[in-house]
């Protein structure tokens, strides 16, 4: 059943490619703005790179959260999901996975290119990409809770950022920390283990909390 949801959302994303590309371009533009703001000095850029890429990824992932449930809400599909004999948490998991596939994965793939703009060494590029690979699913999973809670509210877009961004902080810290550790020549295994732990915890709790939030918002 999760498969059905993922397939459908990917199909919808394929038919509306512009939405996916908008998120990706947003990410690219935000990251490219920073050198214009702070100057082209490679040594400064190298220090900033991981933080800039990660913050831009947070923002890009957050911006697309609004779309996660809103179209299903508007056309009545969400009602059908709530009434489905399949567990709502499983459906939500499917939605989060497809959100990640549609917004998270393009960011991960684009990150090394942007890292080159910032003159990152190869090893740091790899670590940055891997940290995003581990971290972006967490963003989709946590974001799902915020998206479900703000469903149909006025000012939902701004509200979702207030709710969700503080919860993204641990992912940001360890995602950027991994890159910095590798640049400093230290081990980054611990960072990855912690990011992995965040992922596991959010896989366990987030679908459940999101399902509860959806029931509250639709009730």
């Amino acid at each position: 059943m999760i498969w059905w949801i993922i397939k459908r959302d990917l199909l919808l994303a394929m038919r509306r490619r512009s939405d996916v590309l908008t998120t990706l371009f947003f990410f690219v533009i935000v990251v490219s703005l920073f050198p214009l703001g702070v100057g082209p000095e490679a040594s400064i850029l190298r220090i900033m790179a991981s933080g800039v890429v990660w913050v831009a990824a947070l923002l890009a992932s957050m911006l697309s959260l609004g779309r996660m449930f809103s179209s299903d809400y508007a056309d009545g599909t969400l009602e059908q999901m709530l009434l489905s004999p399949v567990s709502l948490s499983a459906l939500v998991m499917g939605k989060a996975i497809s959100h990640w596939l549609v917004t998270g994965v393009p960011l991960v793939l684009m990150a090394p290119v942007l890292g080159i703009q910032y003159d990152l060494p190869v090893e740091a590029l790899i670590v940055l990409t891997l940290s995003l690979l581990l971290g972006t699913p967490v963003l989709s999973l946590i974001g799902a809770i915020g998206a479900a809670l703000t469903l149909g509210l006025r000012g939902g877009g701004v509200l979702v950022s207030i709710l969700v961004l503080p919860l993204y902080i641990p992912v940001l810290i360890f995602g950027t920390g991994a890159v910095e550790a590798s640049t400093a020549g230290m081990g980054f295994g611990a960072h990855f283990s912690i990011l992995g732990a965040f992922l596991l915890v959010s896989i366990v709790f987030s679908p459940w909390a999101t399902a509860a939030s959806l029931r509250i918002s639709m009730g």
Binding site: T150, R154, I162, L163, L167, G177, I216
Partner: protein, 247 residues
């Protein structure tokens, strides 16, 4: 006057109970405040390192304690309201949020005004201050979510979810910020690091904490009573109250 008493027993009786308790807590708050301030400014000795500036501790630390404590209490009541569908506990949770946010702000402000003479800057990305800032964001999130929802029952439940998610995240955030802080070796000078804190300092801090606690209870009770009236304005007991029958 037997109309609907059972149905509305709990918020109504809380309304009257709270009304009777407010004066006692107010008096307690004032007494603790007077004693606490006396110790803070007259009986506590000058700190050998920080001079008189450390006297900010007597407001900073109680405010910081209270801000964290209130978030947990708020999440607790919101969670109870969600689990058992008890409206009163959700109303208490909403009543706690503004006071909690106020103390978070106060802890940040006094932290900055203490940091300036001690560290030379208004703001340092020290683990405590950063966590406090994030706590402030969590309070703001809770309050803006509730304010954006018109249906009070949905507001209660949605607020409960975000408060619980927040409370689960606070230890993780705190731990992450600590890690991040040691990694960057920022200002690691703890404000309360004096090896042997004078008894007067400690007792002053504790008494001020009690004062702040009592003050919070008073504010929360007053606000909870207003929320009860707002929510229950169509019920029999409120109209009786309006007509003065319940005197």
């Amino acid at each position: 006057m037997t109309i609907n008493w059972f149905k509305y027993a709990s918020p109504a009786s809380f309304y009257f109970l709270a009304g009777r308790m407010i004066p006692y807590f107010s008096i307690a708050a004032i007494i603790f405040l007077i004693v606490g301030l006396y110790i803070a400014f007259f009986s506590a000795p000058t700190d050998f390192q920080q001079g008189e500036a450390y006297r900010i501790i007597f407001i900073h630390v109680p405010a910081a304690w209270m801000s964290m404590f209130l978030y947990v209490v708020m999440a607790f009541w919101a969670g109870i309201g969600l689990a058992f569908n008890t409206r009163l506990s959700s109303m208490v949770a909403s009543a706690i949020a503004p006071t909690g946010a106020m103390f978070t702000f106060l802890a940040l402000w006094t932290g900055a005004w203490w940091g300036k003479p001690m560290w030379g800057t208004w703001w340092v990305w020290d683990a405590r201050l950063t966590s406090e800032l994030i706590l402030f964001f969590l309070y703001i999130g809770f309050m803006s979510l509730q304010a954006a929802i018109d249906d009070p029952r949905r507001a209660d439940k949605a607020g409960a979810i975000i408060a619980l998610v927040g409370v689960v995240n606070i230890p993780i955030i705190y731990f992450s910020v600590q890690w991040w802080n040691t990694l960057h070796q920022g200002a690691s000078v703890s404000l309360i690091q004096s090896p042997k804190m004078a008894t007067a300092m400690l007792s002053g801090m504790l008494i001020m904490a009690l004062a702040v606690w009592m003050y919070s209870i008073v504010m929360i009770l007053i606000r909870a009573r207003l929320i009860i009236l707002e929510r229950e304005r169509h019920t029999a007991w409120v109209s009786e109250l309006k007509e003065g029958v319940l005197e």
